[in-house]
């Protein structure tokens, strides 16, 4: 019954959306803004990855908001789980096999390094702070799986979160006082294209984001795994 009604509703909505899609032909070039970004991104931001230049350059404010969303979710998750009270511990995850835990010792720093690579090269290659952060978090996830007793250093994680977030905001505010006097303006020298130390504030921000996302996601996993009796 519910499913039938639901399908009818979805059909109606689908027809509406379908008609709208006719006006958005798939695969046709259409936006001036996209063209503008592609044309000018290298000059404006110094990044060769246009997506990065959009994410951390043109629409950096969105990204600030997005980082905040993740921050909010991590905090909220902590708050929701913390109110249960009781003593903390972890159970339900059996100790992993020797291979996994042993391999993890080697794997963990490598994954971390890989994550760092991803976010430091965000302005040059695909990837960036979010992807890198996720990779870092998955390194921690691996640790949790292999050795259940291990816990993230919570205060360290929250310190990283706060400080890297503050770095982001501070860079934004510095833009207000330096260079072109706009919030989040790229006031650092842009350097040569396609080199690691280029694109002004973009790599700095992406590093901050990477650390922040990594610590937040790791914290999320950690919090969720935590058993409260």
């Amino acid at each position: 019954m519910r499913a039938t009604v639901g399908l009818i509703l979805l059909a109606v909505i689908g027809v509406g959306v379908g008609i709208s899609l006719l006006a958005i032909p798939f695969g046709a070039p259409k936006t001036e803004i996209g063209d503008y970004y592609i044309e000018n991104a290298r000059e404006d931001t110094g990044a060769t990855n246009v997506v990065t230049s959009v994410v951390v350059g043109y629409r950096a404010f969105d990204t600030l908001g997005e980082v905040t969303v993740l921050f909010v979710a991590a905090l909220g998750l902590g708050a929701v789980l913390a109110t249960a009270g009781g003593k903390r511990g972890r159970s339900g995850v059996e100790p992993a096999s020797l291979i996994l835990s042993a391999g993890n010792i080697f794997l963990f720093p490598l994954i971390l390094l890989f994550g760092a690579y991803i976010f430091t090269h965000g302005h040059l290659t695909p990837g960036g702070g979010f992807q890198g952060g996720a990779v870092i978090a998955s390194a921690f996830l691996l640790v949790y799986l292999s050795s259940p007793g291990k816990r993230i250093n919570e205060s360290g994680a929250s310190l990283t979160e706060s400080v890297s977030g503050l770095v982001f905001v501070a860079i934004g505010l510095l833009g207000l006082t330096h260079g072109t006097h706009y919030f989040l303006a790229n006031f650092l020298p842009k350097g040569a294209l396609n080199t690691l130390f280029s694109a002004g504030i973009i790599p700095v921000i992406y590093c901050a984001i990477g650390l922040k996302v990594g610590s937040e996601l790791a914290g999320v996993v950690d919090n969720l795994m935590e058993e409260t009796e």
């Binding site: 639901g6 009818i8 109606v12 509406g16 008609i19």
Partner: protein, 618 residues
Amino acid sequence: MSLGLLLIVAFGGSLLTYLLGKVSARTRDAFAVLISLALVVMVASLYGKAFRVPFYGGFLGMPLVLRIDGLSWLFAIAASVLGCLSVVFSLGYMKGKERTSFYYSMLLLVIAAMLGVVLSGDLLSLFIFWEIMSWSTFLLISYNGGPALAAGMKYFVMSFVGSLAMLAGVLTLHGSFGTLEFTGVAAGMSSASPGYVLAILVLFGVAFGTKNAIWPFHAWLPPAHSEAPSPFSAVLSGILIKMGVYGFLLLMFVIVGLRTFLSLGVGRIEFHTVLSIIGAITILLPTFIAIFQNDAKRLLAWSTVAQAGYIILGISFGTSLSVAGGMFHFLNHAVFKALLFMVVGAVEYRTNGVRDLDSLGGLIKRMPVTFIVAVIGVCGLIGVPLTNGFVSKWLIYKTLILERSPFLAFAALFGTWGTILYSYKFLHNIFLGQLPQRYEDMERAPFTMLLPMTILSVVVVLFGVLPGIPLAVIDTIGVSFGFESLHVTPWGIASDTGALNTVNMLVAALVGLVVVWCVFRSGARSVSVGQADSYAAGAAVPRDKYQYSVRFYAPLRRMMAPYLKDFVDSFYMRLAGWVRGLGDGLRRIYTGYVGDYVMYILVFLAVLIFVQIAWSPW
């Protein structure tokens, strides 16, 4: 004397009273009396003046203005005097009750708001003061708790409906004429279409009619009057509901204008006749409901509704005599009804809150002064010659007969007969008959209660004997409305149309008294016989068993009771029930299951899209 200062004293006094109450109860009481006295003096000093003062630059672009003229002075003086007397009466009545600071503060606030209402020079400030009056009244009515809560609620809802109708009216006028000052609106109204004027009259009529408790908007009044603290009942019945009268007078004769008002109607049905008939209905039904009340205050409350009917009948009939009668009756009713409520208050005070007519009786021996003032008040209420009620009712009867309205005249007279019945019941069941044993060692009413009652009873007689004093004021108001003058003399009215001379009555009454005295003197001396001797043949029977005031008018009641249900009230109650039922049903859509909520969201979206695709109305 500036009007702004007057209002500042009034409103500021109310606030200060509350704050002083936190310091010392005695200071507060003295201060409250002082403030109310000051208001009387200030209002009195404004006699005969007519001017306007803007006092607020622009409330959302609408300037607020105060003004005074004869009409507003009349109501202002009535409000301030009654208010003052009520405060004095409260000194005794409220002693030892809780939250007295709140009570005094609210009482003064109501008085201040009433003064604001009558001194307003534009409709917006009228509305603002009207609303302040409404909510402060609500708080005072609910003050007693228990059944007073329902009473307060009923009052608030009905009066809020009225105020909002008024708000709609006020803002419609603002939309049409761009001004809210009485003169400006009046100028605009003179050229407005009759339908428009009628609509405005109806909107305001709901507000004023509710406050004035004309049928079918009276349902709030009986519970509210009976459950409020008695000194406040006096204010409520005496002056507060008369704000509706003020509103009607203002609306009909100042804003709409006499000529337009009288010619207004749909086809052959004239608006003012309809209003008169409503007035007549308001006289008849409540009068007979009042007869069967066993609660002294409720009886008076229904009586108030009925008397309000006279006033409406008078002013809406629209001749110079009737309008003068209506206005005079307002003044008289204010005096004697306040007096009677105070009487009940005094009785309540001494009997610890008993006001059930079946269990009182014989208090004449314990409260003689109260009894005397009660007799005077009741005489005024009935309209015995040489009391004020007679004059005003006479003016109304006279004009009804002169203008050949037999039905209305009959209704008015019939109402008076009913008034006699319930007034007598009131007087008898409280003061005459057996004194129940539990009241054997009751004390007299305290001075602070006797003083206001005495003053009011003096006024009842004064206005009855010298009706020229108030009629002179009323006459000038009538003239300002465009009526012809009444030719008032101190003893009555000299013109052909409404000749009235109290000197003749005074002489007749004196002669009658002398004759009766002679007759009684010439007969044998009366012999006093113990009650038990004649009723119980000397057997010792507990006296309370002989309380023959119980179930007064029982046969009449059996006869008429089925026809005297308050259909309007039960309709309102059912309406309230429906609204609650509707709300209760509607909230079932919030089922608590989130899948349903998701469904709502998608249904809404789908409907939006479907309508657009199918009809594209947007």
